[in-house]
Amino acid sequence: MNLGAFAPILAMLVLAAAFAVLSIVVSAFLAPHRPTRAKYSAYESGVEPGRLPQGERYPVKFYLTAMLFVVFDVEVIFLYPWAVVFRQLGVFGLVQMGIFVGLILIAYIYDWKRGGLEWD
């Protein structure tokens, strides 16, 4: 196979990794180190990462959101090969994907109406 086609991806991976490492290393050497309380607080008044007591369980709503994300993510994956052969499939492909997306849409409506997308 032709690995050359993947050279840009490799280059981008190397660049991304280099940028991450470099910015950490360089800032560690160059930046002045004068910590204040404000600097250590969470960005934009975000959630303070804390430890839950032993045995305490995490709120399941995070898991629910992530799970629904996975479901819709998998749906999108199917659109990718479909889009490539869309012209060759014609109306048949359109109907086929319509049924599939329609099913997921019903799941989405259900989740919405049942409050699965509300945070509280």
Binding site: Y58, Y63, T65, M67, I104, Y110
Partner: protein
């Protein structure tokens, strides 16, 4: 050996030990977040293998679904649990660990034995024909013609997953 085969070999030699090391690290580390991040690296190594096997679509799925969505799910949970919050579970059945190690070694012996016996030596049917016109297009062609039925049933499966997540995760008072 052609130059492209050489390149493949080099990539494999880089990725394979990395995959093994990250997999071991993921199991052995006591910190759940390190474990999850090692798993991400492992997923990327697998994506690399898929590329080497000329399954580019599967490689993309590996990155988007596994390294992306599923790891988000893991990290979500881990971050909320709090870093370093180890749950010590008392083992219910004695001798479970040695038995698990023994069985894992047995599996290793079986797979190495199968490799040595040449079970996996057979030439892949016809990769060139299967990948004609590009990997993604080839998958699209077969998925939306021959496997139409399987594709639509997969839609039902996703509906059940979405409903199940809500039923188990969210309780109406």
């Amino acid at each position: 050996m052609t130059s492209s085969e050489q390149a493949e070999l080099i990539v494999f030699i880089i990725l394979a030990p990395l995959a093994v090391v990250t997999a071991l690290g993921m199991v052995l580390t006591r910190n759940a977040v390190y474990s999850a991040l090692l798993l991400v690296v492992n997923f990327f190594c697998l994506a690399g293998f898929y590329v080497l096997l000329e399954a580019q679509f599967v490689a993309a799925v590996q990155v988007i679904v596994y390294a992306g969505a599923i790891m988000v799910l893991f990290l979500f949970v881990l971050m909320l649990l709090g870093i370093g919050n180890e749950v010590v579970v008392k083992e219910q059945m004695r001798g479970q660990r040695p038995a698990a190690v023994l069985l894992a070694l047995g599996l290793l012996v079986a797979i190495v034995g199968a490799l040595a016996a040449g079970v996996f030596d057979a030439e892949p049917a016809s990769l060139a024909a299967a990948n004609e016109g590009g990997n993604v297009e080839a998958i699209g062609r077969i998925l939306f013609t021959r496997y139409t039925f399987a594709f639509e049933t997969a839609g039902i499966l996703l509906v059940v997953a979405a409903v199940g997540a809500l039923v188990l995760g969210k309780r109406q008072p």
